[in-house]
C-alpha cells in the first residue's frame, strides 16, 4: 500500500513539474513611465480591488482623482503600433489580455470602457 502511494506521489510530482515547464508565462508590453501607481506585486494581486473602489467613488460620489482610474491604466498601458495607432489593451497579447488569458479570467471592463486613450481616437 505504501509502495503504491509513493509511486503515485512521484508520478504526480513529475507530471506537475513537466507541465509547469511546458507553460509559457504571459509576456506583455511595458507601460509608460518608470513605475506603476502602486508596487507591481500589489497591482498584480489587487488591481481589481483598486478599480472597484475607484468606480464606486467616481460614479456615485463624483471623486475624479486619477491615481486609480481605469482611464489612467489605459493611458499608460496601451501600446502603439508602428504607424502610431494605439492597440486596445484587451487585444491579444496586450497588457490586460495576456495575463487574463493565462489565468482564464474574463475582462468585462472594455465592453463599455474605451480600451485606447482618447486623443488618438479622434484622429
Amino acid at each position: 500500500m505504501t509502495h503504491r502511494f509513493v509511486i503515485g506521489s512521484l508520478m504526480i510530482v513529475s507530471l506537475t513539474a513537466s507541465s509547469i515547464a511546458d507553460v509559457t508565462m504571459p509576456s506583455y508590453p511595458k507601460g509608460k513611465g518608470e513605475r506603476c501607481v502602486e508596487p507591481t506585486d500589489i497591482m498584480r494581486r489587487d488591481h481589481f480591488e483598486y478599480l472597484m473602489h475607484h468606480r464606486k467613488i467616481s460614479v456615485h460620489l463624483g471623486v475624479r482623482s486619477k491615481r486609480h482610474s481605469l482611464v489612467g491604466c489605459v493611458d499608460c498601458h496601451a501600446s502603439q503600433a508602428d504607424n502610431g495607432a494605439y492597440i486596445p489593451v484587451n487585444a491579444p497579447g496586450q497588457f490586460c489580455s495576456s495575463c487574463h488569458t493565462y489565468t482564464a479570467v474574463k475582462i468585462d471592463c472594455f465592453s463599455c470602457h474605451a480600451a485606447v486613450p482618447d486623443d488618438v481616437e479622434k484622429q
Partner: protein
C-alpha cells in the same frame, strides 16, 4: 434660510468662511475664482449644489439641432442603422397649442428630477441621484430591466441593444444597459459646462444656460427667481433640474 428651488436649507456662501471670500475677492462683486464651481478632484460632489439647466424656448429654432449633434459627438452616440434602436439623450420636441396654432420647439433630455421616478423603480440601485442633483445610471449595476425607461415621464432614457465600439474614455457605454443625459457630468466635474450648452451658445440661439440652482449668485438661479418659467409636468411634483421659459 430655505431655498425656494430645493425646499432645503441653502448653503451659506463659502460655508461661512468669510476670510476665504475676502482673499479671493478683489472688489465687491468681482471674484477671481467662481467659488460656486471650484471643487478639488479628490472632493466628492456636494449636496449644497443643485445643478440645473434653463432652456429658453423662445430662442430655440425649430430646425436647429446643434445641441443634439453636440451630444452625439461628445458621447460618441453612433447611429445603429435602425432608427428605433438609436441612442437618444436629447431630442427636439415640437409643442403646438391647438387653439392658437402657436408652435414651440424645445430640447428634451433627462430632467434631473429631485425625486426621480427612475430611481424609485430601479431594482438594483443602478439609477441614482448624485448629491449635486445629477441623475445617473451606474452601468456596473444596471441589469437592463428597463423599468426606469417605463417610469420616466419624459421618455428620456435609451437602452443599448447592441455592442458598442469607439466609446470615449469619459463616457463609457455598453450593451444591455440603460443610458440617458448625464448633464455631461465629466465636464461638470472639471468646472466646464455641458456640451449642448456650449454648442447652443456658438451654433444655436443661446437658448441653454447651465448653473447651480442653489447658488443665489448664479445666472440660472437669478433668472429662475426673477423670470416666469416652468418645469415640465409640474403636476408630478418631481422638482426637475431642467426648467423651461416660453413653454
Amino acid at each position: 434660510m430655505t431655498d425656494p428651488v430645493n425646499n432645503k436649507p441653502r448653503r451659506r456662501f463659502l460655508g461661512g468662511t468669510g476670510a476665504g471670500a475676502a482673499l479671493l475677492a478683489i472688489a465687491p462683486g468681482v471674484k477671481l475664482v467662481d467659488l460656486a464651481l471650484a471643487r478639488d478632484e479628490d472632493e466628492p460632489a456636494s449636496a449644497e449644489t443643485r445643478w440645473g439647466l434653463l432652456v429658453d424656448a423662445n430662442r430655440c429654432a425649430t430646425d436647429c439641432r446643434a445641441c443634439v449633434s453636440a451630444c452625439e459627438d461628445e458621447h460618441a452616440l453612433a447611429k445603429t442603422g435602425r432608427k428605433p434602436l438609436d441612442p437618444q439623450w436629447i431630442r427636439k420636441v415640437e409643442l403646438v397649442d391647438e387653439s392658437s396654432d402657436r408652435s414651440v420647439s424645445l430640447p428634451l433630455m433627462c430632467q434631473h428630477c429631485e425625486d426621480p421616478p427612475c430611481v424609485d423603480v430601479c431594482p438594483t440601485g443602478a439609477s441614482f441621484r448624485r448629491a449635486d442633483g445629477i441623475v445617473l445610471v451606474d452601468k456596473h449595476t444596471c441589469i437592463g430591466c428597463r423599468y426606469c425607461m417605463m417610469a420616466c415621464p419624459f421618455n428620456a432614457r435609451s437602452f443599448v441593444h447592441e455592442d458598442v465600439t469607439g466609446q470615449k474614455s469619459y463616457s463609457p457605454r455598453g450593451k444591455g444597459t440603460v443610458e440617458s443625459c448625464t448633464l455631461c457630468v465629466h465636464r461638470v466635474d472639471q468646472d466646464r459646462t455641458p456640451a449642448c450648452v456650449e454648442s447652443c451658445a456658438v451654433d444655436g440661439g443661446g437658448a441653454l444656460a447651465f448653473g447651480d440652482l442653489s447658488d443665489a449668485e448664479s445666472t440660472v438661479s437669478k433668472t429662475v427667481r426673477s423670470q416666469p418659467h416652468r418645469g415640465l409636468r409640474p403636476d408630478l411634483e418631481l422638482n426637475t433640474g431642467v426648467r423651461y421659459r416660453g413653454v
